[in-house]
Amino acid sequence: MGMTLAEKILAKASGKNEVKAGEIVWVKADIAMMHDLLGPRLIDKGFKRLGGKLFDKEKVVVVSDHCTPPATVQQADILKYTRDWAREFDLPYYYEFEGPCHQVIVEHGHVRPGRLILGTDSHTCMAGGMGAFATGIGSTEMIGVLLTGETWLKVPETIRVHWGGSIPHGVYSKDLILKTIKDIGHAGATYQALEFSGIAIRRMSLDERLVLSNMAVEAGAKTGLIEPDEAVVHFLRDRGIEDVELMQSDEDATYIRELSYDATSLEPQVACPHEIDNVHPVSAVEGQAVDQVYLGSCTNGRISDLRIAAQILKGKKVSKNIRCLVVPASQAVWMQANKEGILDVLTEAGCIVNMPSCGACGGFTSGVIGAGEVVMSSSNRNFRGRMGSASGEIYIGSPATVAATAIEGKIADPRNYIPKEVMI
């Protein structure tokens, strides 16, 4: 019997020829990733009580992204703690003020196909879009990983999500994943892996694929995988990484469930408060007034997202009734957007460009919402209280839907704003 991509990577990570879903295996981590909020400040004591020796500092990556830029003294102290810790252990890979960890570890080449990546953040699964097995763990569990390089994992069953057809104008990978989560349910893939396949996925840029894997955890999944291909090889080659292993699922691999879609007829989708599987076509929520729009995050703050937003907002104005916050997913994205004139287009339209950070997406800094305020966001989670006040409301959609909403000050269909000739 063949193996799924998830099984193959876990077989490799556990030093076995074959593993099967349901088996519990001890696995070796290729990358142990922590961020400021759930990293050194929480693990240091326990780590040192147990000897305080890193299993391999070349495999440890620390990113300060949640408390950046610090809005309070406590956050500044957390950053200082994290920075000092990275210095104490002489870590070769410490990044701060560069953007959300999931994007930063992709850009710096830490994420590679076939790797096992463990991180103290639930959206660590984003790395699966590059063909890695990546999943979130807690801080105490990270202590074990830092000391031994290992942890135990139950090999997950895999749900295959097949998207065929061609994606229509004004519809993006965010719409595909929202539709998928609507059908699976926000706990429907608990303890399982998602694997995205099909021509619609294959034709996507890496930027877009990462949206799908980023949100796998929103269906409860352990990870979200996409079989790596030449696009991943080129991306890594540009960063000087040549040795790339392209693992694929076997044709006779066993899937617990298979979902099949045709993207051709998909409309833009919006997740409504307060659950990410409360998804409706944009036409059902058009006209809902908002106070703020948020274009950014590790989910949808990459260069292709900013290009889409600029296309829609060029020569237009953000509604006077709202704030439009733009948060590029990384410093590299910020620089590229600057080079392309995108930041000019967005600021001329009335957007406020913030620094790359987890920021208001998690309710930490730079744009949290007040009581009763409504946000349209391109991020990944709309739980009650997520972006600030518990009485706030969060709608989630594609960068295009967010940009169109910015113009109208109420939820809008992006297809009305994309000129036919530039639709691709």
Partner: protein, 166 residues
């Protein structure tokens, strides 16, 4: 972690997520301070009314969302005795075990009401509702996790394992 846990129930619905249990906006504070805000989006009085040993009972998918260990930590700080639900979100489940907060899945919690007195038998895989006189079978932890729990959580388990390694 004691093998039998008895306590009074606080009952919640499905999908009690990590932003409800441990809101992001307070995460830079100490665990003591964060605990004051636990569950406040749906139950503002929770941290004041919960008593040591009380048990949280909920429906599906308790602890969904973030990997933040502060979620089980604030509940442990408030001395919640255990959490019983239909099933847990994956990362929360692991985190709770790792920090020594008992988590028990019984498949259907719908007949348990707020204020009921329940008793959890961790090793036997059994939950008794003393108020209503009925009994549930719960999932049992696999052997390596029972070892971990018996050792007192992941840190103590690691200490043992590292000792053996050295």
């Amino acid at each position: 972690m004691s093998a039998v846990i008895r306590g009074r129930v606080w009952k919640y619905e499905d999908n009690i997520n990590t932003d409800i249990i441990s809101p992001g906006q307070f995460m830079s504070l100490s665990i003591e301070k964060q605990a004051e805000h636990a569950m406040e989006a749906i139950d503002p009085e929770f941290s004041k009314k919960v008593r040591p040993g009380d048990i949280i009972v909920a429906g599906n998918n308790f602890g969904s969302g973030s990997s933040r260990e502060t979620a089980p930590l604030v509940l442990k700080h408030l001395e919640v005795g255990a959490i019983v639900c239909n099933f847990f979100a994956r990362i929360f489940y692991r985190n709770a075990i790792n920090i020594g907060l008992p988590v028990v899945e019984i498949g259907d919690t719908s007949t348990i009401e707020e204020g009921d007195e329940i008793e959890i038998y961790l090793l036997e895989g059994k939950v008794k509702n003393l108020t209503r006189g009925n009994e549930f079978t719960s999932t049992k932890l696999p052997e390596h996790l029972i070892d971990m729990v018996s050792a007192g959580g992941l840190e103590a388990y690691l200490a043992k394992r590292m000792g053996m390694l050295s």
